[in-house]
Amino acid sequence: MHQRTADVIIVGGGVHGCAGAYELAKAGVKVALFEANYLSSGGSGRSAAGIRQHFGTEVNCRLAQYNVQCFTHLEEELGAELPLDYAQWGYMWVAYTDSCLDQLKKNVDLQNSLGTPSVIMTPGEVKAKWPYLRLDGIIGAAFCHQDGHINPQTMTIAYGRQAERLGATVKTHSPVERLLASGDKITGVVVNGEEWHADKVVLTAGPWSTPLAATVGVELPVSPERHNLLVTEQVEPFQCPMVLCLDDGAYFKQCPNGSFFLGRDDAGEPKTTESGNSWKFLEGVTKSVLSRIPVLSGVRVVRQWSGPYDNTPDHQAIIDWAPVEGLLINCGWSGHGLQFGPSGGRLIREMVTGQPTFVDIRRFRLARFAENDLFFEPAYI
């Protein structure tokens, strides 16, 4: 008879869950991953998939350096069946106010002190390097040439497939209904009406983590926020970097296949995990982005979509053991989680197998919210 047990159960087939399954399977741990829909169907696959080392807190800067080291050889490491489309065409934060530029300078100072080769550029340097950009009114920018793009769907799926090849059980279209605990110890999950038992459960379900954690009495301050994105048809690549404009939160970048991703902040978006989108986004983002890169004005939009951020009050992740023994939380990445897949997976493996973590992540502890010891990430979009 089929034994529905594993050493570790992972709930959520986004990039952190799949990378965690891969890392654990590689370490010889018997792991089972459940995904409600298909791998990468939540926030991961809907992400703008920016890869950046521009952060304003040391822990994120250090993890981001590790991510970039991994991305360069990830396709080979995972035996990816589909290309991961990794490109290092750079990532630029553009400041329109003194206070923004001051913050960028602080961030870049921190990054440089940790060895990340980011730079502050003047408006003249930006103009000279990318003459097709029309960034009127900017007072400076922060740029890192190592940063860029990866395909969020093929990366997530590659992690999941490699985990399976290494012996992990990966079940898609298998929504976890609730977690199981006995006393204050986790014992498993209920999925498709069946109980699966494990001494350790890893919750990597993004904004869907909150209701699942509540089933064993754990309160997570993680809430969804819908963000929109669109993609254009392809043109010959000219290596346009990711450009993030800090006046209205508009951003754009070219992907290796030549298409452009366009996105923009919208405070009026519903706080929901429901997807959906609007003309309002299409109109707002195209007007804003085309004023900064008018050479795209004849390029057509192919489609738009949305996906949920999993926001925490300080826009920092939660990576910590929950008050229920054996329940590991990895969620709340607040919109920058996709690129942290490699380090997130490694941290899951290290924590589950009882090793010290390769970067000090105590600041990601869950109790910081109850203790009002928030830890804001200044480089948050």
Binding site: P131, E236, G298
Partner: protein, 106 residues
């Protein structure tokens, strides 16, 4: 320019005759008629080259759906020339690959 002048059912009314350029060569066509129509009348059959296999593509669906007639027009790639009206002085270029955005004219 070679076009059908007489048709048993349809009556042809053309707009103004205008000049445009195709890959640097000056040509004439009728304003407001599809770019692809003007090219066809001038004997141009190859409009683009595919990105991967470098195969020629030309007039095909004629209703703006099939991607066969994509060309670079006034610096804009992937213009559906079968449904885009010709105007005087247009710069029409064979599209190679995915089409190049005119950065130098920015």
């Amino acid at each position: 320019m070679r076009m059908i002048d007489e048709h048993p059912i349809l009556e042809y009314r053309h707009g103004q005759r205008v000049k445009f350029s195709f890959d640097g060569r000056e040509m004439e066509g009728y304003e407001g008629e599809p770019i692809a129509m003007a090219l066809h009348a001038n004997g141009v059959r190859i409009y683009r080259e595919t990105p991967e296999m470098k195969r020629p593509r030309g007039f095909f669906c004629a209703i703006g759906k099939c991607s066969s007639c994509f060309m670079v027009v006034d610096g804009v790639p992937n213009v559906r020339t079968c449904v885009t009206p010709l105007t005087a002085g247009m710069n029409v270029q064979t599209q190679r690959g995915k089409g190049t955005v005119a950065l130098e004219e920015a």
